[in-house]
Amino acid sequence: MNSLIPLLVAAPLAGAALLLLGGRYLDRLGHWLGTLAAALSFVLGVLLFSDMLGRPTGQRAVHQHLFSWIPVNGFRADVSFQLDQLSVTFVLLITGVGTLIHLYSVGYMAHDERRRRFFGYLNLFLAAMLLLVLADNYLLLYVGWEGVGLASYLLIGFWQHKPSAATAAKKAFIVNRVGDMGLSIAIMLMFTEFGSFAFGPVLGGARQASEGKLTAIALLLLLAACGKSAQVPLQSWLGDAMEGPTPVSALIHAATMVTAGVYLITRSGAIFNLAPDAQTAVVVVGTVTLLFGAIVGCAKDDIKKALAGSTMSQIGYMVLAAGLGPIGYAFAIMHLVTHGFFKAGLFLGAGSVMHGMDDEVNMRHYGGLRKYMPITFVTFGLGYLAIIGFPGLSGFFSKDKIIEAAFAKGGTEGWILGLCALVGAAVTAFYMTRVMLLTFFGEKRWQPSARTGEEPHPHESPATMTLPMILLAFGSVFAGGLFALNSSFLHWLEPVTGHSEGDSPLQPLTVTLLTTVCMLAGVGLAYLMYGRSPVPVTAPVGSPLTRAARRDLLQDDFNHAVLVRPGAGLTASLVYLDSKAVDGLVNGLAATIGGISGRLRRIQTGFARSYALSMFGGALLLAATTLLMRSV
């Protein structure tokens, strides 16, 4: 059974190779081939999952050694996989949601002439992401980590003819490089400290290492997580990444890849647990991002960017939970899975709306769509209820647990974190209600499309698109309840992440009530602002905070002022130094040699006879020397 594990990665990888190398012969059925590869991976994942369920808790984690990658004296890099409860959760999420989104893309990308390539990239992403979560050592994880970065780059810039998409792809790639640098340095530190990259020796040996080293490694891992998961301060790329096709936003920038940072922190829990300072940093990053993303989400009129802000915020929740240590790991992953369902569903719904509205993304140009797109409305609505934490739906259970865990951190810290999380929940409810009201309720505010010049004719999307949305809606509704039942998810993950209850100053029921009240307050405020009065088609000027939030809370301005401008100045001075000093030296040397050569060149007269004379003179010298040496 274990030998199936490499096939999980191999199936989409083979699909990607086939699609990208196959050329135009595969244009006609390439998309089904890609979907098939994803579905095959999902079936394999289910098989392995059921196999794992059949084993007792202690024997569930399995290893599969494939081959030795770089066997050098004292340096061993293996390609081997580890399938435990955490990995299999991710495998099911990635392949399940991935397959649905492949299916959705068949319809969504139907009119794109480069659809085969798109599916090739999607398969490449699946392969890299599965490699990331299945790796049993950090080096192989790094391979997957870079692989998803590459796939993300290719897919954000898929419509590369749009300069904005090309720029967004580059931005995502470059910002991710900063995080990747952190991960690579962390891996180097691990090797010097533990002499290995494998999870076993590193996580098992963490107890022997000094706290300073561990804090350094943990902070570097946090940097990596920030880059990949769009956490403050490396959050700026996620909003722009919405330039990619919507299925990409749903799969990569909502459900799976951006959660890789949470996976990394959870997987490295043993290191973080022993580095309290790093953990504090993690919770601070998570909390700041949670509020940051929520505020940005409130101000955006672009439906995908509003959802992107929401994604950032929800991942902030997960990072916050992961930073709490054993109290929160399981809840972070639980929220990750439920978020994967409802956020993917929301993005697919947004894609469906855009599909019907001639690729219009401005929510102020929507309105009253619930009558025209009933299936989209219902599935989007269920996702909406799930994300705001409506009692009984997925988000309610997972978010509630995280807020509870934040309070359970204890002391002043616990109070601050808990209150921030509560505020976040209220703001989440506010901006999601806003999205909902602007899109599906109110009067029509449709504008002639820039492309065709006609009023859009919204219609329901084809079955290949609605089916994934319906299935994801089921997940959004029931996953949370299923996980929370008897704390089954907690017990499932406990062997990997460990668990402790913490000491919450509040009763769980109190927290639940508080959360619900906050949520209702957010919904009510949004209804007052957007539901009762007509929404202007062009955005009002708004308060300074709104204006700042529309500019992503000035993150790009900040980056520009703090990083880009000094960097450009440094570069300019280095260029000056290079062109004046270094080039001067080199050019001077070259000029000297050139001058000498120019004078030496005169020896070359071009007359064969003078060359013959030199040869003859040389022969004379040789003969003379030989005779002289003999006579001596």
């Binding site: 007269t605 007359f607 006879r609 003078s610 004379l613 003859f616 003179g617 022969a619 004379l620 003969a623 003379a624 005779l627 006579s631």
Partner: protein, 286 residues
């Protein structure tokens, strides 16, 4: 030690050989150099014969003096028999340096030979017991057979190389006689055949131009090569002078008064109405 006869022969031949070599070195004209070299080679051939290398001696005469030197002469003729080196040396110091180097080299070689411990001269009477040619053949077809075969390949390569080097591709198809005739009519420069050289009175040589009825030179009658080199022997002046003499002696004999004598035709220049044919034409035909 050799016999006295050989000693005498050697000294004579040595003088001839060195003289020939120096002549080759110092003669300005390439033809003279070639002839001097032939003399040297003949002297060397006799040296070979004297030293028991009968076969080589004959080969030297047949191949070197007979074939290679003739080839040289051929090329000299082709390139121009009069082409001589100008006396002015273009490379500064080349001549002095060459002389010095040559002197030094000669001194070194001779000193080397003088210092060498050259052993006893065995002589070839034993090796040549069954005949020089047989001895050489035995070596050539046994010990040196591989080298012999390779030289065969080398010779073939050289022959093909020479052909390739001297062969010139036709850029266009050569003109037929008919086309040439048509061209001549079109150009209307010299429609009838060119006049033959030297066909006047007693002269009959290619370098003497024919004379036109008025006694001037028909330059076209001399071949282009000689015209280019300026090797035309003009005899018209002498002819005119003799005609004048003849006329005056006739008048003397008839006793005509000076006033009744016809005016003596003075030397005239060649007709310039007939332009010389462009030498370009000749190149096109090759």
């Amino acid at each position: 030690m050799t016999s006295t006869g050989e000693a005498v022969q050697f000294w004579v031949l040595a003088v001839v050989a060195v003289g020939g070599a120096l002549g080759m070195l110092l003669m300005r004209k390439a033809v003279h150099s070639a002839l001097c070299l032939a003399a040297t080679m003949l002297a060397l051939a006799v040296c070979y014969l004297a030293q028991g290398a009968v076969f080589l001696g004959v080969v030297q005469i047949v191949v070197y003096t007979g074939a290679i030197m003739m080839l040289f002469l051929f090329v000299v003729m082709l390139v121009g028999v009069t082409s001589a080196d100008s006396l002015k040396e273009q490379l500064k110091g080349q001549r002095i340096a060459a002389a010095l180097c040559g002197l030094g080299f000669g001194v070194l070689l001779i000193a080397g030979i003088a210092n060498a411990r050259l052993g006893h001269f065995t002589g070839l009477s034993e090796a040549n017991a069954e005949g020089n040619v047989q001895g050489l053949a035995r070596l050539l077809f046994t010990k040196y057979v591989w080298a012999f075969e390779v030289t065969g390949a080398l010779l073939i390569t050289a022959a093909i190389g020479a052909m390739v080097l001297t062969h010139r591709e036709h850029v266009k198809a050569p003109s037929t006689q008919r086309e040439l005739a048509a061209q001549r009519v079109r150009d209307n420069i010299q429609l009838p055949p060119l006049p033959a050289p030297g066909v006047y009175a007693r002269h009959n040589a290619v370098d003497i131009p024919a004379l036109l009825p008025d006694g001037t030179v028909a330059e076209d009658s001399v071949m282009g090569t000689l015209r280019e080199r300026g090797q035309i022997r003009d005899v018209s002046q002498e002819m005119l002078r003799r005609m004048a003499e003849l006329e005056s002696s006739t008048a003397d004999w008839l006793g005509r008064p000076p006033s009744a004598r016809p005016p003596v035709t003075g030397p005239r220049k060649a007709l310039e109405t007939v332009p010389t044919k462009e030498p370009k034409k000749a190149e096109d035909e090759t």
